[in-house]
Symmetry: C2
Subunit: 462 residues, 2 copies
């Protein structure tokens, strides 16, 4: 699918995307031209197909895809942190917090994904799920197992979803039945997965490897440094967790007593780079924020997970004000949903809880949440030149949103096509808000990556 | 529909309901008999149809309804507080808080529901929505308009949804274009709506009236007392808001300077009774909690709304420990969803935020949230003898939940029937958790009130 040829296509209808953190563009009448390589060649506003045909003569034969039923085009979502391997545990966490949750639910499931057939089921299902929610790029944790990690890369490449795929490293404080037996094993297996992923997609246009120390408590200092060296050698991305909950931070202090901070543990190992994604960052100190900023490392904010596991409320406004780059992560199955749209809502709720103590400045707006879900995420995964918004030269990673419509009289006989009710008098801004606060995968009718159609629902009519 | 005759029916399959606040019964093999009046006549556990036929000879000709696809029966949800009239504004609130939100979004919409045709569309749509989410009983705010408030009652009666329906009273601090012109108007119009609703359903088996002073700031002391007297005269239920956010509480203090507290304002007016539903109760003082307890008034906890409008995190554990009766309310459109299942999640998240400051004791479990959504809600609306769980003598207000199943290999081609993924190895407790944390209206295949089928989806096969 990733390599399938496509036709020159004109996308016709309203579109919505972020100009900046606070500025969401809503264009009621758009015409966007995407070439045979999936690259956007023109973006016309307040324009018609006739205008565009007369202006761009060579596009007269192009295919045309129109929005449907109160619809609009929106950039594909970018999930900067999730665990494909934990998807079967979605919703199963009880009242545990991070460390007890890992022991009780997570390690047993992850270890079982040594099985290729089980991994095939779980990973295919999860990639289908994330695509159905409009996620066009995803930074995945797999497990310690190389064959099934590589299988996840195969699946993403086949389905055409951009992905960073990480073979998990953990050589200490992990169960005997699920850990790297040595630093050498951790490095060798990571290298094997990097090599495989680069072999199936040499220019990394769809899948890329990502070095994945689980988190500081499950890697020795030697292991972390070896992975830092592996980054230098391969220039692969890095992903890990940081400062998710307080007992975890205390644990890191006790395990790395000479380190100045949790962030310093990673920095000392050469893991704090501009290609590093740090998930959570709920309780960073001001010094750590400065250090992360100076290294240009990126933050994946995972509010659903932080709430479900009672980890805390990340001070996203502070992180943004400090100049950090922030995207959203679903963090399944600490998070309970594979949807970045749900994560937008959760980011907004968490910002409300911060606001209850810190004042209104903490609140994220709808526009800001959508920025984090697209442009912010693109920066976090290093794809800001390619995806996240609709500009000439960017690639067409997009979703067609459709909101449905309430019929006169209001009788639906209970047969709703989706969760959003548009009555007809709403402004475009209201409609976008209705989508953000009550929409779900039923509103994502079609999804494209690099111009290739990678998901449709039954309601998509083209 | 409410009066349609039904056949004696046996409901066959797993069922789940609350025994108590903390004890959720999950019966993997149930057989429940419901008679022609919609009343449960037997509940057999670990039993088969053959066992039941041999034990209950007169049920051999009964119709049979079986669960489907990893399904179970669950009691209908009870929404103890929502505004049918605000549904078109769902998701539209921006960064406002209570008082600015009322002025900006709410009053203009509510006032427009003087139109019968607009109200027909909005109310039909919303009743369809709440039914589709498994809500079998709902306490509705309408508007100040008697004809359209009565229309809402007609719609609920026709659709067969149990409802308490309130004509809103507000004679001060409300816009000129949307208020009662006098106390006499407020009482007369309330009385007119009470009389109408009692005329269409004399024994109140489906629809009942509810006296509805909007909240203390929008009613003068005289108006509140007149409505207290109307309660004495009619013995109708009462619903209002209390202690939702801090500026509102200060406003009440300034408007009622001789009152001891917000709760005391209602008590002085004769509005704090065992038939009173108090929505929100986010910031009650210990004295107010004692007063509410002594009057046996009920609490509608509306966490989605409280979070969206940054009102605060209600200390539900404290309210429960004090012996108050608590149910859940969606509070559309302060709340952003008509789903009590979503409200269960939001109640759990809010309890997590309380726990971040107050300790783990504050956390609500899945079982506790489901109790509030059913048994707790039944107590709040005074229907605890009829609905909320499955016992002999109760009426069959229920929903058929179906969770779907992941196919071997995991390929779904993006065509998901619902949001929950069951892989097959999950325990029943895990499955219930998956439903609570990732389910939605797609998982509610059918809904019954008093044994009458009031909603189905296309997937329901009987």
């Amino acid at each position: 699918m990733a390599s399938a040829t496509i036709s020159k296509t004109i996308y016709l209808g309203p579109f919505v995307h972020s100009f900046s953190l606070t500025n969401l563009e809503i264009c009621g009448k758009g015409v966007i031209g995407v070439d045979e390589k999936g690259v956007i060649r023109f973006v016309e506003r307040d324009s018609s197909l006739e205008d565009v045909h007369s202006k761009h003569d060579e596009w007269k034969e192009a295919e045309i895809v129109k929005t449907q039923d109160n619809g609009f085009f929106f950039p594909g979502f970018i999930d900067t942190h999730t665990h494909a391997s934990q998807h079967p545990n979605t919703g199963i966490f009880g009242k545990t917090t991070l460390l007890s949750w890992l022991e009780t639910y997570t390690f047993p499931l992850e270890s079982s994904l040594s099985s290729l057939s089980k991994a095939q089921t779980v990973y295919s299902n999860f990639v289908s799920r994330t695509l159905s929610h409009g996620t066009t790029t995803c930074a995945y944790y797999a497990t310690t197992h190389v064959p099934t990690t590589n299988l996840l890369a195969d699946i993403c490449l086949k389905r055409g979803q951009r992905a960073l795929i990480g073979r998990v490293c953990m050589n200490t404080m992990s169960p005997e039945y699920y850990r790297d037996q040595s630093v050498e094993d951790a490095v060798r297996d990571s290298k094997a997965s990097i090599d495989y992923i680069r072999s199936i997609d040499p220019d990394g246009s769809i899948v890329q490897p990502i070095i994945t120390p689980r988190f500081a408590p499950s890697c020795t200092a030697t292991c972390l440094s070896a992975l830092g060296a592996l980054h230098k050698e391969t220039n692969a991305h890095i992903q890990t967790h940081i400062s998710e909950n307080k007992p975890e931070i205390q644990l890191v202090q006790s395990l790395f007593p000479t380190s100045k901070s949790y962030a310093d543990v990673y920095d000392t190992a050469g893991l704090l780079t501009s290609k590093t994604i740090l998930a959570h960052a709920v309780h960073l100190t001001p010094d750590e924020i400065s250090l992360v900023k100076s290294r240009d490392s990126k933050i994946s904010h995972c509010p659903a997970s932080n709430t479900a596991l009672t980890s805390g409320c990340s001070p996203v406004r502070e992180l943004l004000n400090a100049g950090l780059t922030v995207g959203l992560g679903t963090d399944v199955s600490g998070g309970f949903s594979p949807s970045i749209l749900e994560e937008c809502r959760q980011a907004i709720w968490v910002s409300r809880f911060r606001a209850m103590n810190d004042g209104d400045e903490a609140k994220l707006s709808t526009a800001e949440a959508l920025y984090l879900a697209t442009r912010g995420g693109a920066q976090v995964v290093g794809l800001e030149d390619k995806v996240g918004g609709f500009e000439v030269g960017k690639e067409w990673d997009a979703q067609m949103i459709s909101l449905g419509e309430v019929k006169e009289g209001g009788e639906q006989e209970g047969k709703f096509e989706g969760p959003v009710d548009v009555f007809g008098w709403e402004s475009w801004e209201d409609r976008v808000n209705k989508w953000v606060y009550s929409g779900d995968d039923r509103n994502t009718l079609a999804v494209w990556v690099r111009g290739r159609l990678v998901h449709t629902t039954g309601r998509y009519q083209q």
